[in-house]
Symmetry: C2
Subunit: 242 residues, 2 copies
Amino acid sequence: MTTDTGLTLRERKKLRTRRALVEEALRLFTEQGFGETTLDELVDAVDVSQRTFFRNFSSKEDVALAPEKELWTTYLAELERRPPGASTLADYQDTLFAAIGQMTEGWERRFLASRALCDRTPALVAHSLRHCSEITERALAVVAARRPAPDAAAALHDRLLLELMLAAWRWAIGQWAAAGEVPCADDTTCRAELRAHVRRAFGAIPGTARLACPEHSPEHGPERDPGHGEAPRTASGGPEPR
Amino acid sequence: MTTDTGLTLRERKKLRTRRALVEEALRLFTEQGFGETTLDELVDAVDVSQRTFFRNFSSKEDVALAPEKELWTTYLAELERRPPGASTLADYQDTLFAAIGQMTEGWERRFLASRALCDRTPALVAHSLRHCSEITERALAVVAARRPAPDAAAALHDRLLLELMLAAWRWAIGQWAAAGEVPCADDTTCRAELRAHVRRAFGAIPGTARLACPEHSPEHGPERDPGHGEAPRTASGGPEPR
DNA sequence: CACAATATGCCAGTGACCGGCATTAGCTGG
DNA sequence: CCAGCTAATGCCGGTCACTGGCATATTGTG
């Protein structure tokens, strides 16, 4: 948990309005919908001008996704701060947990609200995914800076591993949100449950990985019929079909 | 390649303006930028009203991403049409190749233009990723309909495999675009190169998969220092710390 | 206290997007 | 060939997100 000490008065003031905007935005969007809430309503409720809003957030979507951005900004900082590890899944998970631990109070509530909004609002999904992809690029840059990929294949591996992790993350928060519809007892247990979901999702990755290797037995869904009549013709490795 | 025969005159006319809009949009956006081109410029160039534009496309971004949508719509149709296979990576690749084969003439040129625009325009990235995620959901629904996942873990595996595939796809078209800056000799070879890139990217997935298994040796980046002093404490598999 | 640096508010503009309504153009049965 | 139907289109007005310019206020500093 970070605190505000060491900030100048002006900065604290700005931070206060910023937080008020996030809080009020999540409240309004949740109550009456994202598209149904105008910016004027929001800024009137917080009693600031539109100009001020746009100096704090780049768009209407931005404020709704503030909790998500907060996490990933911290994640990147943490990734850069940490000693260069092997950049494995376990490393990524550690870094993620560290970032989660640094979130300010009430973050889990805000984040869940933000996520629920995403589920209702396609425009928010788009912005969220874009943000994710930007994080991916930046994280890849960090990893590449300390351990340059020897060739294109290695670079692809790094990227796929990261995307795999993000997919697992998305799954985890999906599960978390589904279980968290009924509000948690308190913030601490709520956050602990998030960690548990993340652990579970990350733990499933090796299984998927094994599944992706065609040479290994699929071992999943034994009820399948491998000898199907009109089986899909094998495409990988065959000669170039015009 | 699909042809227009069997369509009524009205439908052909509509299709013509639709295509003209895509063509002109890609041209204008490429020449003077996405944000710098107003809708009025576009519709004036094609000589239709804004109203007509919005009956063909849901947004300004939509028209810029039309080639991408064309591919994935065909992909989904193809996925549903095909006999239920094992839903492996090879299946997905086959389906993808089939969809690529059905694209209309000049698709590769349009698609590359659209992609180049994405690289320049964050807003387009957002919409593109959202579209991808929608395709993922629909594809998962198709797969689940014919082979319901026995449990949550299996469902997660299905999802991760699909996301892995899409990540590989994005990588492949990235490579394709990079190589295709210098225009291809002709459309056929251009498309053949795309297939080659996809094959290569998909082929790399098992390697990544192996990498994601912690029990296997990393085998990639032997210059690493595994015995680092402040090694990250193991996170996966430990007892649940409440 | 004077002065510099920001933050803020106000305002007018631009452009995407969406309704309603009249008009036109392609379809269809006689 | 014509009348009637349907669907596509154009026109128009309105809403709203977002931007830039400029004056004002508030805070940090010597």
